[in-house]
């Protein structure tokens, strides 16, 4: 059965990565990685945590300021084999995840082992880090661990890398891709927009008409019903004047954003107020007032899409203002 609901791609990303400050303990760890060493910290009870933490995970007590270089050889305490790497995994060919207890450490750290084939991996295997040349103070400065118990040489950092300062920040790029469903009721609204209709739905309990409806009456928690055509006339219930150019697609400021109570609806509808004033010039903020009667001005039908943006703006109708009592509950 074809889906009733509209689906759309959605991309979520922190461009450049979420920037995080490290604090004194993790700063030592990531500075160590940049410089080609794995650094842990000793707890008050003498255990060495790798990766280091500010607190002993067993007791909550603050760790000492005794930082310890461990490894570089370590032992695999457990592992898992990835047959088909995902796009954001550290390696693009089959590899092992492993918890690795570096010599001199009491806890294990997570990393990958570039072992070639699954049969080469075993619990207890000895591994050493394979370092990147361009290290920045990041867990991925270790490209991967490899099987063996002889340390590989740490390639010298490129000359342009300044090592006079500790690493105090790191960036973690994050991006997710979705395919989101609008749901049945919002899809009905959006399809109405494509036909030049403003469609709401009614609560069967209180008979309030919501536009757009998300599918429920938020007062009664029951499904909204039917198709109720609202507008295109309405009453401006409240507004604000925008004096900054927030977005390239927005009209030239100053412009007016408003809540419009469409005739037949019980929830205000968001829109811009624009058009031509009594003087024949572009409508000015001073021409606009609460209670003003307005009508939807649509884009050219050839441009209609599945979007509330099909309504370019609302313009004054010239009718007498609505009585305050008719819209006082909808601001």
């Amino acid at each position: 059965m074809p889906s009733e609901a509209l689906l759309a791609p959605h991309h979520l990303e922190f461009p450049g990565g979420y920037t995080r400050s490290l604090g004194p303990v993790l700063s030592r760890f990531l500075t160590g990685l940049r410089d080609g060493a794995i650094v842990g910290v000793r707890t008050a009870e003498g255990r060495v945590l790798v990766p280091p933490a500010e607190y002993d995970p067993d007791t909550g007590a603050a760790v000492s300021d005794d930082f310890v270089t461990v490894g570089p050889v370590g032992t695999v305490t457990t592992w898992a084999w990835v047959h088909e790497p995902k796009r954001n995994h550290p390696l693009d060919h089959p590899f092992a995840w492993a918890l690795i207890r570096l010599d001199g450490a009491d806890t294990a750290m997570l990393h990958v082992v570039d072992a070639g084939e699954e049969a080469a991996m075993s619990t207890g295997a000895r591994v050493v880090p394979r370092w990147r040349k361009a290290r920045v103070g990041h867990i991925n400065d270790i490209e991967a661990f490899v099987l063996g118990d002889v340390a590989e040489a740490v390639p010298p950092l490129p000359a342009e890398v300044d090592t006079s300062e500790d690493v105090t920040y790191m960036a973690a790029p994050i991006a997710l891709d979705y395919e989101l469903s609008a749901g049945t009721a919002p899809s009905r609204f959006l399809r109405g927009m494509r036909e030049g209709r403003l469609l709401g739905q009614r609560c069967p309990v209180c008979e309030q008409v919501y536009i757009p409806s998300r599918g429920s009456c938020p007062i009664h928690g029951v499904p909204t019903e039917g198709e109720v055509e609202c507008g295109p006339l309405g009453t401006l219930t409240t507004y604000c004047v925008v004096n900054l150019q927030f977005h390239p697609a927005a009209p030239p400021p100053p412009y007016v954003c408003a809540q419009v109570l469409l005739d037949g609806a019980n929830t205000p509808f968001f829109g811009l107020i624009d058009g031509t004033g009594a003087d024949g010039e572009r409508l000015k903020p001073d021409d606009i007032r609460m209670g003003m009667r307005v009508r939807a001005v649509w884009k050219d039908p050839a441009e209609w899409g599945l979007s509330a943006e099909n309504v370019k703006y609302f313009e004054p109708t010239g009718e007498p203002d609505a009585d305050f009592e008719t819209y006082k509950d909808y601001q």
Partner: protein
Amino acid sequence: MRDVAVVGFAQSTSARDVDRNEVEMLMPVVSAAMEHSGLTHEDIGFTCSGSNDYLIGGPFSFVSALDAVGAWPPIAESHVEMDGAFALYEAWVKLQLGHIDAALVYSFGKSSMTDLGELTPLALDPYSLLPLWPDHVSLAALQARAYLDAAGRTEADLAEVAARSRTRAVANPHAIVQGETTAAAMLQEDLVVSPLRTGDVPPVTDGAAAVVLAAGDALDRTRTRAAHITGLDHRIEAHQPGARDLARSTSTELAAERAGVGEGAIDVAELHAAFSHEELILRAALGLDDGVDVNPSGGALVSNPWMTTGLIRIGEAANRIFDGGATRVVAHATAGPCLQQNLVCVMEARS
């Protein structure tokens, strides 16, 4: 401790709920749980939900989800960015204070809208774990091998759990995967992340669940055979998987002790074991013997709506009391990588 009981439960699950948004998915579930309990909107003194904004790809999704419960006149409400089982804990604490007599708990989430394996690393330590993007299946596989190595067990033991879950799920209309099968057949399935095979890994599931809690006078107005909560506790371990003994679940052991699991015979256990080895680790941690009916619903291996699976365990365990099939049950919920945090809930029937 005040007597608080689970008195209503409903759930909705599917492999991919394309036609409904979160509010549309949740609304009938809330209505059904309320109807099941016999209580009304006016009885509810506190509403608490569990969900995760990354599932929906936008902030504060729990605010708009309130459209599903009818939040007018304004209600007392709270939310946890966790499984709904932990929201139930908050509601239970609120009921312990004695000012209200009934609470509504719900959770919801669609795991099918993005790649869960890319989403789950976002819950990890952002310095040493997240940048490697270890997905939840990979981390589970690390724990699986740690357990098998330490317990002297094999992948065949995992296959036993997988086969039993699918076979039991035949009677569960909410199961996403089900069907009578054998351990031998499950051992033939493809490896996802070794040592875990397809049958050891839960299906992607969209879903919602709601539970109604009652105490005091409200208990007299309910229509179910109440599942009285006699013990409820949750404990958390270190976040770094490498700082823990992955072969056991010490936080579950402690929560079970504090919830009094061992103070009487357990008829049924519903465990939030989304991977086969987790059931084996949890059975040991909870001290469940072979006489306990574990995951009669098929458990999380057959239906795993993120943020809702734990709450469903409480509901499914309560169902066994509602239907008269059990008198003392335990439900378990988990959060975090490799069973980091664990909640244990003991419920009993009163004659």
